[in-house]
Amino acid sequence: DAGVTQSPTHLIKTRGQQVTLRCSPKSGHDTVSWYQQALGQGPQFIFQYYEEEERQRGNFPDRFSGHQFPNYSSELNVNALLLGDSALYLCASSLEGQGDYEQYFGPGTRLTVT
């Protein structure tokens, strides 16, 4: 049973560029959440997708957008990259209505903006 997978593992971009990160949820999961984790800090919630729609959003600007596909996989897009966007981006999947909210996290994508 494959867990949550993310690609790419590492990414280096230049300020002002755009980036797309990808996530495949754990088999059987239908909900995907994205987090940004700066060094030494806890994950910060970006947004959550369910049924191909964004249904919850954290305190992140519109430069951060996402998409969920019919197969439940998801993308995170960040436009006009800033140096402060350098972080570990985590994807987590869960199953809606399961009765608890145990999330399964992927290994993350390390984004470096220069």
């Binding site: 806890g42 959550q48 919850q56 145990e102 992927g106």
Partner: protein, 111 residues
């Protein structure tokens, strides 16, 4: 959204029992308490979740007093591989939930 407070760091030794306490004074009736473990450059991993009293699984126990304003994660007989950051989270079950992650507790296990 309930906020949690936990120690920034803790040290212990192999074979000892480690207890990490989390304070969540504003916990709501429908909130559950969840603990995650995170190793460097990896995603967090679910450890345990509870609502009240005591919950135990193969890796940890979670103690929750009657007022639910705090909780204690207990790790029995820790090893060096338990060195990690531990996060305490409080949130509601169901749709539109949003969990707030603090900085966690950095646990260092010494030989």
């Amino acid at each position: 959204l309930a906020k949690t407070t936990q120690p920034i760091s803790m040290d212990s030794y192999e074979g000892q029992e480690v207890n990490i306490t989390c304070s969540h004074n504003n916990i709501a009736t429908n909130d559950y308490i969840t603990w995650y473990q995170q190793f460097p450059s990896q995603g967090p991993r679910f450890i345990i979740q509870g609502y009240k009293t005591k919950v135990t699984n193969e890796v940890a126990s979670l103690f929750i007093p009657a007022d639910r304003k705090s909780s204690t994660l207990s790790l029995p007989r820790v090893s060096l591989s338990d060195t990690a950051v531990y996060y305490c989270l409080v949130g509601r079950v169901g749709s539109n939930y949003q969990l707030i992650w603090g900085a966690g507790t950095k646990l260092i296990i010494k030989p």
